[in-house]
Structures are given as C-alpha cells and as structure tokens.
Symmetry: C2
Subunit: 360 residues, 2 copies
DNA sequence: CACCCAAATGTGAGCGTTAACATTCACCAG
DNA sequence: CTGGTGAATGTTAACGCTCACATTTGGGTG
C-alpha cells in the first residue's frame, strides 16, 4: 500500500487525517465559522483576518471536504452528463466538447453512458446524478426515445439535451448543431454546381440528427425548385453507405448527399468498384468532417460541426437556467461547409442536359 | 421551475424534502440502524424485518444520501477517470470502454479531460478526485509525461494507468492493449506474404502506443532475420500519412506498416496519386480498425484493439488493488489482426527478386 | 428452570461543513 | 456618559449517514 510521504509527525503507522476547518481555525486563531466565511468569501471578514486564515489554509494544506459541503448545501459544483455508449465520432466529440465547456464554467462532470435508450437505464442514470446532488444535467440524445426517457424522469435540476429535436419540449433546454442548415448548405453547394438529381443516404431512422439532415436535403431541393431526389437509408456505417452505393450505381444520380462521412466512404468505394468516377460522374458530399475525410479518395467535401461551440452553447443554457433565467430559445450552432475534391461542376458528358449548356 | 408531483401532503409551496433513514425506520417500525443494516446487507437482520424495511423503502421512495454516506465512510463508489482532451478514436474508445467496465463493476465515474499534460493540470484533476473521495483513479495516458505528472501527485487511492509503458513504475498499476504484439502480428503477416523491405510510419514520438508499435515492428523484422526497414514519423493524422506516402513513393518498399489507420488512409491516397497500386505494388497494414477501415480503398488490413476488454482489465486491476491484493503484473490485452485487401503476396513483377522465385 | 451465548436490534456519538442566531466591539449620536 | 448600531466574530444546531457499543430476545445447556 502506498502511503503519502508526509512531513508531519503523525501518529505512527496511520495515514494522517487531512486537516479540517477546526484545525485551520485553531492555527489562525479564529473560529471555524470565520474560516468558512473566508472560504465562501463572505464580505464581513477583516482583510487582516482573511489573510491570516488563508495563510493557515496554505500552511496546513487544507482542502474543503466536498461531501460535508454537499450534505448541508445540497450542491456539488458538478453536472451530470448522459451519453450513448458509442464510440462514434459524433457522440464522443460532443462529450469531449461538453466536458471542456463544463470545466471552463467551473463545473465538474460525472459521466454515465447508456447501453440502450430504455427508460429504466435513463432513470437509473438520472437518479444517480440526483443522489450526487448534481446541479444540472446534460443529455446527449441521438434519438427521440432518449429524450423521451429523460423527460419521464422528474428532475429537480435543470436539464439540457443536445438533440436535433424538431421542436423544443416544455421544461427542458435544447441545443444542437444546426443539422438542417448543414444539409441545406451541402445541397445548395451541389445545386450551385448544376446538379439536379440529388440523392441522399440517410442515417438510421430513429436518429434525430439524421432526420434533420434529411429534412434539410428536402427543403433545399424544394427551394431550388428541383424534384425530390432518391432517398436511401443507412445506419451511419460505411457498410450501409457501400450498399447504397451499389444500388445507386445502377441508376446514377448527378450527386449524392451522404448523411455522414463514414457512409460517404462506403459510397465512394462502391462507386469506384462500379467504375464510376467521383466527381466526374457524380458528386459526393458527406457530413461531420471526420479526421481523414480530407484524405478520402477523392478528398471529401463535407460539413463540419463545431463541437466546442456546441459544448459552450450547452453550458451557457445550463448556467443561465441555474441563474434562474429562462432561456427559451432552442440554440443552434451553425456548421460549416468544407469544399474539397468530391464535388465538381456537373459534367457535360454524363449530364442529362445537352452539350450546348456548357457554353452558356 | 418544475416541481416533483408528490402525493404527500407536504408543506405548501416547498419542495418536499426527500425521506431519510429515520422516516423509513418509523414506517417500518424499526430503528434507523436496522435500516442502515438492510441497506448494507449486514447478515444479522431477520428476513422478515429485512422485508418490512425494504417495503417501507419502496413505499417512501427512499434513496440513500450519498453525500452523508461519503462523509462518514470516506468512500463514494466512484472512480475518477483522467483522459486527454482529444477526439481521436483511440482515447475516446478507451474512455467509453472504461466507463462501461466501471459501471459493470458497480462504480460511477467522474471525468476530467486534460487540455495538456502539465503537472499542474494533472494535480488539479487528481486533487479534485480526492476531494470527491473517489475510491480509485484511472489515467488514460497517451504519453510518458502524463504518467509522470500523475506519479508526482501523491494519491491515497490506487491508480491504474492505461499506457504502453515499457516497464511498470512502482506504485501504480498499468494495463494496455499489447501494441507491441499487434505490431508484430502485422509485420509477421507481411513477412509471411514474402515482403522483405517493410517500412513503418510511426505516430508522434512522445506517444507510448506509438513507441510500442515501432518496437514491435523492429523486433519482428529482427526475428525474421530481415534488415531494418525505413522509418518515417507522423503524428497520427492522415495528413502526415499522406506526406510519408509521397516520400515512400519515390523509393517504394515491399510493404508499409502504418502506425494507425488514419495515417494509412493518407498513405493510401498518396500512393494512389503516385500511380502505385495497393496491394499489387506495395502492401499496407494499419492499426486500430477504425470504423471505415473496411471501406478504405483498398479495404485495409489492420490490427483491431479490444477496448471493452481493456476497460475490464483496468477495472479488474483496480478492484483487486482495492481489495488489498497487489496485482503486480502489467496486464496486456491482445489485439487481433484483421486481414483485408490491402495486403497481398509479394508481386513477382515488382519484387526485388527474380521471376524464378514465384515458382518456388 | 436459571443461565449463558449468539443473534437481532437499538442508542448515541460523531463525520466536516454551512445556516441561523448570539455575542462582542468600536464608534458615534444624543 | 450612555445607549444604539452595524461590522466582525463566535456558538450551536442541523445535514443524513455509519460506527461502536449497549441492550434485548430466543433458544440450547447443565
């Protein structure tokens, strides 16, 4: 067993008990309450006394006991974060972003990852957080059932969910990357390039992010006065992107908007194997800008999400809710279109318009 | 503000205080201590009494106050996890794996991600954990300086680091994926395919995982009686893999072992752009088996890590340390070689041996 | 049938902090 | 000089739990 190398002549053999407020108080020649006041920087403490106490704290290496504090105040400077037990790029990046933002805001984070979206699991997670006296909860919710499960548990603290809900439910705060906008940006880019038949490979049906992206695709097509495109459904995996690619290869559209980069990767492979050249024969846009997207073959045009901004947005919502304000708006973080080599002007040779267009 | 819909006729307007042990005790007609005994399943409680108490707990919706418990026991059923603030596939997957294993082992996790590997940051993180009375700490350490920083803080609880240290420092427990073995598996596969000049693109110099993989590459080359191969250094990014590929393209080896899949991706692109065909002209192996690796072009042969097993290994170490045993061995989790299409028998046309070899 | 022992249960004292209230002290108005 | 006032400090009581110890209970023994 490792023992703290402690200079104090403590009772032999025992781990020296960490000093408490009383010890500090004694050392500073004040009462424990004054120590408490210094710690919580209460105004009415003489500067001189404050200094004396601070010196004593320093000297003894005193650290306030959070359990005792939490016991009496029912506060813990901690927020709980619930995420799905997935190693996917999106959720994990969001988690890191939220953790960073929470720390910046002065909170610590307690983490629970859910093996599934059942209400039971969610309830257990949230109740655990409540037991810990967390001051707020962040739920990273990929699908509607996670949000629903979270809403069923009644929390005594504010909750913000990171989810692309079409509309904000009462009682919780919601923030998200603006997936719809991202999709529109992607499709708009494709339309601008002259593509008319724009297919979409969607993520899993229960994914909110995916629905929002699909909605964006439709809206932009609509706005451009283009007919509906072909819709295929995948599950975020390259595997399903590949399958979609095989299907698409039989009746190739002008362009494909893939719901995420991984599916775009699968798509790219299927296309290559089918002898279809990107971007000459068909343009491809992804979503996420995962590390590596810039080195797909061809380098992938995609939509980048700002996870750091998302984390901040999340904490802003939470802290203002904690401050008693009622931030009502659903905050959306704008994504960014990254144009690379997988998209190009519609080719005149394979396009469905005649050669004369090229001259215009 | 949302208010818990509570059936009890509580004092008007106030959030009803959650029931305590005394409330349960009264309801069950026993003393608070008996309730405590039931909670901690102490042996000497009559089954009938136990049942009565449990019924009362159920009825009142009683939940044990963790702060109070932590205050007296100085235990919290929580472990602290320190990780690097990175969205890379490796670290995040490890994090998810550890969280899952911790929950399985009955612990909750408190998370701190480090913006840098400074001792200051590490100290703050670990002291925060100590304040929270965590029972153990897991440090996911990509580089030696993180481990060193962690060692400098003197902890009163067991610590396990997940790091590919060449040898285990005293006082802490270490577990890791067996990167060295993984690299040897990869290189052995290459050697088995007849390749002799096997280059390596290493990860960043300060990465322990990278060093272990590089060491494995060297060892296996040695064991096969082959000359040292060409060594290039990247930083895990596809960008650097691409740069390495450009360099390698000028003097193409038989095969390349990339330190991770992302660099392999960059390498693949550089090779393709240089008119070099994989695996005909050169075989490529990656490391990680990131989602998508199976859909690189060509599908990437790589080494898969078992993050779930790693998490379990980590918790096994921690729980046995907690139980007072002294698990001394450094536990390594074996990885698995996944053979796909980026590796092939050494081509007779481009090989450095004459055609006659093919007939042997 | 008194006796003892172990099992089952109860009692009281903290754990380290903050909250509420009490006290002291210096200073100024009347 | 006295009373009042507010700032600075001290005292006491929770917070909800577990621990150590005290007490009760229910059988076997001799």
């Amino acid at each position: 067993m490792r023992r703290a190398p402690n200079a104090l002549p403590a009772a032999p053999g025992r781990t020296p008990k960490p000093p408490g407020m009383y010890d500090v108080a004694r050392a500073a020649g004040v009462s424990h309450q004054t120590v408490s006041r210094v710690l919580n920087d209460h105004p009415s403490v003489r500067p001189e006394t404050r200094l004396r106490v601070q010196t004593a704290i320093e000297a003894l290496g005193y650290r306030r006991n959070t359990a005792a504090r939490a016991l009496v105040t029912r506060r813990s400077e901690t927020i709980g974060v619930v995420t799905a037990r997935s190693a996917l790029y999106g959720p994990t990046s969001v988690l890191i972003g939220v953790e960073a933002a929470a720390r910046e805001a002065g909170y610590f984070v307690s983490l629970v990852s859910l093996a599934d979206a059942s209400e039971k699991q969610m309830r257990a997670a949230l109740e655990h957080f409540l037991d810990q006296s967390v001051e707020g909860v962040v739920v990273i919710a990929p699908s509607a059932d996670v949000v629903e499960a979270a809403l069923k548990v009644d929390l005594r603290v504010p909750m913000v969910t990171i989810s692309a809900l079409a509309q904000q439910p009462a009682g919780i705060y919601v923030t998200s990357v603006d997936h719809l906008l991202g999709a529109r940006l992607a499709v708009r880019h494709l339309v601008g390039l002259g593509h008319r038949r724009i297919a979409h490979i969607a993520g899993p049906a229960d994914s909110l992010d995916s629905s929002a992206r699909t909605r964006g695709w439709r809206q932009e097509l609509d706005a451009a006065g283009l007919p509906d495109g072909r819709l295929l459904v995948g599950d975020w995996s390259a595997e399903t992107g590949y399958a979609a690619g095989l299907t698409l290869a039989r009746d190739i559209p002008d362009a494909v908007f893939a719901g995420n980069d991984e599916m775009a990767l699968g798509l790219l492979l299927a296309l290559a194997e089918s002898g279809i050249t990107v971007p000459d024969d068909v343009s491809v846009v992804g979503f996420d800008d995962i590390p590596g997207a810039a080195f797909f073959s061809p380098r992938l045009t995609t939509v980048r999400q700002d996870f750091h901004a998302l984390g901040s947005s999340c904490m802003t919502l939470l802290t203002s809710a904690l401050a008693g304000q009622n931030p009502s708006a659903q905050v959306l973080v704008p994504p960014q279109l990254i144009i690379r080599a997988s998209t190009a002007q519609r080719s005149v040779t394979t396009g469905h318009t005649v050669r004369i267009d090229a001259g215009l």
